[in-house]
Amino acid sequence: MDGGKVTVGRMAALYAGAAVLRLAIFTLLPDLPDLLTGRVEISTPVTSFKRLQEGLFLYNHNVSPYDGGVYHQAPLFLPLFSLLPNALSYPIFTYLLYIAIDLLSAGALWKIADSGEAGSSALFTSPRRERRWSGFVIAAIFLFNPFTIATCLGRSTSVFTTCAILRAIAKAVSGAPFSAMVALSFASYLSMYPLLLLPPLLLLCFDRQRPERANKSAVSFATIHVPVVFGVLGLLFGMSYLITGSWEFLPSTYGVQLTLSDLTPNVGLWWYFFIEMFDSFRSFFLAVFWLHLSCYVGGLSVRIRRQPLVVLTLLLGIFAIFKPYPSISDTSLFLAMVPLYRHVFPVMRYSFVIAAVIMYASFLGPAFYYLWIYAGSGNANFFYAITLVWGLGQSLLVCDLMFAVLRDEWELERPEMAGKEIRQI
């Protein structure tokens, strides 16, 4: 590890570099943010900045922001953004806010990386843990990932969720379970799906408790901390109620995610499926899709109990594929966590294929969307086919990472098998 001073200097340089890059794009290419805001790959109905503007306009004119059925985001965004000067006349303040959020996320990621939790958790220490990247590299990979930059430029509100999730994990690894729970409730309040991260996050908090005030019983630990989440959530709901004056926001924000009532295309797998479906099957398949999304939580938490951070990473990858309104922002969060597992990269088998598939999909996706929407010479199947490839690339990465982590655990038990080819018998 470097000395404190050097780290601070490097941190400042990295953050300044990332902020300057974003500001430069914002100022030199003033049309780009609005172009990206309109892209379906970046803005989903539940995170779009354009829809936020609409909600904000209604809110500032004392009309319920959920009238008109365009705005599906959490009510607390409204007072936050109405504090800022108008995004059209003074966009710089909005830009600065989004840049700050990205830097906060990077800071959290840096802490997670420097904790070394990825290589050696409370119950498992990887033999390969020496080979890892420092927090600087990991934060840099996150900040200079084109997906992260595009999300920041597109001003999708999912960056707030990303930041809250990363903060929650950072708090958990640094032994502050209470703050971790509060951060997770913020993430859940904003996007709902992070609530599914609660079990592995609890395990992570439990494993990383400070020894001086450690709670030895997992059950009592959970009974203390789970109510914190629901308490904070209740508080946030109460504030939302006070702001909007009705409980209307619940069906308009979480209800939309649960029932997929807005079928705007996105990079996920739900929209096409539910467009094609007969209405009588809709509720059944909604239940199946949600059940599918949530069933990974229990299984992974049990199977990879010894490394809860792995469970969180894999779940973030699974959510980026299978949640109702995914965007490249979710992928950028997953890709931010993956480099923490630098030590198992040599065991991964398809890294090149994964990189190639994800890159192919990210270029063919906009091309096919263009053919469908603008040129009129393609149709919806073109774009959907590419979102399938995109999902395939990510699920390959999830599977390969899981394989590598499990193999790493297994080689500790069976040292004689290290380096041998895997064969199914």
Binding site: M359, F363, L371, A375, S377, A418
Partner: protein, 602 residues
Amino acid sequence: MPRLLSSALALRRDPRILKIPPYLSLLCILVGAVWLFLLPLNEYSRRTYISENALLPGQVHTYFGGSDQNVFRAYKQEVNSLVGKSNVEINDKLESIVKGLGLKTARQNFTYNAAGRTYAGENLYAILQAPRGDATEAIVLVAAWENAKHEVNKNGIPLVLTLARYFKRWSLWSKDIIILLSPDSIAGPQAWVDAYHDAHDSSRVASLPIKSGALQGAIAIDYVQEHRFKSVHIVYDGVNGQLPNLDLINSVVNIAGGQMGMGVALQEMWNHNDKYPDRLRTMLRGMLKQGLGLASGPHSSFIPYHVDAVTLQPFGEGWQDEMAMGRVVEGTFRSLNNLLEHLHQSFFFYLLMHRERFVSIGTYLPSAMLVAANFTIMAIFLWMKSGQPEEVPAASTPESSDKDTAAPTAERNLLLPLAVVTLSGSLSAIPLYIFNHVPESALTPSFYFFLVINTLLPIAISIVSTQLFTPTLQQFHLIKSFSLLLLGMFLSSLATLNFSLAMLIGLLSAPLSFVKPYSSPVARIVGFIILNLTSPPAVLLASAAVWGLNVGDILREAAVAWHVTGTYSAVVVWCVWWPAWLAGCVCVLGKPIHQEGKVKKA
């Protein structure tokens, strides 16, 4: 299935498998190229047919003629007296004529700056409101004062005026008819269409004061020749290689060829015998135009807005007069007038090889995809090769020497290859910017200057990287792998948007798949020379020599296309092809740190 997968996984370590990919990728290129030459055969191409039944081309009587001939002569007299006058004076006169017909008129100013020149002018347009319509749809009749070769459209303008007068008398129009008289063939229509769809930059292009409904189709008349003509030449290439719906071309072919009994030509093939060589030539000319992506006439600007449009040019010595040309336009407008919905039935992706013969995307796309796939195959091959442990452990990278895992794949050192590929990618912004922003007079000097720099740059990068980082053979494999992966990815995406451009670039950069770091200095120099002969500037120079054009003119046209019509071919050349070429050159010049014998083996 799992067993199959695991045996496939075991197979990938087999040394024999690793010998195949270079041959496979060569095969891909050859099959891709041969495929293209099979397309004109009867077995692979199809006869054209009208898909949209509502069009009913050639089913109506056309009545244009008779006394309209006298009207035409009168208008021609007026137009001839305007030749040589300024844009505003011409528009004043034309506007008074069109107003006299009882149409609503309006004007629009536009200014474009490109290559140090200003392209400014004023469009005049008029709207004939449909007696049976509700102004939700419109079709456009365009005549530019000057055609793309800067000849005055002496017959086209009077013909459009006469047709406007004639159309006004009929009560059967269900779509508005817009008459657009632009001062030139490229910038004027572009400014007008942009403004019509509110996609214009209002600091340079004025907004339109009056508008009609959604544009359903456009016909441009480019009628320069003074004597009677034989046939009609249909120009159909849009900006960036986009094409109008095949039904529109078929309708014109049907009306002009079938109903009027005049010939129809495509792609400047004035005499077409419908045999293999002529079909191939037509197709290749079409592909070249599509690949360049330039605007070829007033119709080109309409196509990106999903408005199907063609330009009609009478040509040859024959007995057809202006009235026959007018009847072709009348017949086409009657067909377009019948449309119940936008043209969508027929093909948007096709290659025409005769007026009644075409291939559709399903038949021709595999050839470009195969060429693009060759790069991906080589990229995967090089990635696997870079993962093989090298024979002498001492020469391997420091990281792969740790013994506790003894993994079958060597640790790859990714940082330098990624840096080289990123560097070559970001350098590409420089030529793109220079050639699009330098004034016309400086274009030729800066091109030759760039040619020299372009030759020296790979040498410089190679020397610097060898001195500073002492790259290994593995790193050169990775550089090549990444750059080919990117190239293959861009080209396969591009093939769906502009097939011809992807095919052209793919074939021109095919040598990049097969060059590698050579051990002997002679081979290295030969490889470098071969690459330099296929570099983007060298190809530009060679094509200028072949067509007898001036490099400066080509670059000016490209800059104008970039600024006015938004042609993205320059981006593809500089940001896709050139970085891959640069990375390839760095690989050829690289001297990996090994004994001579080992490099040869690899």
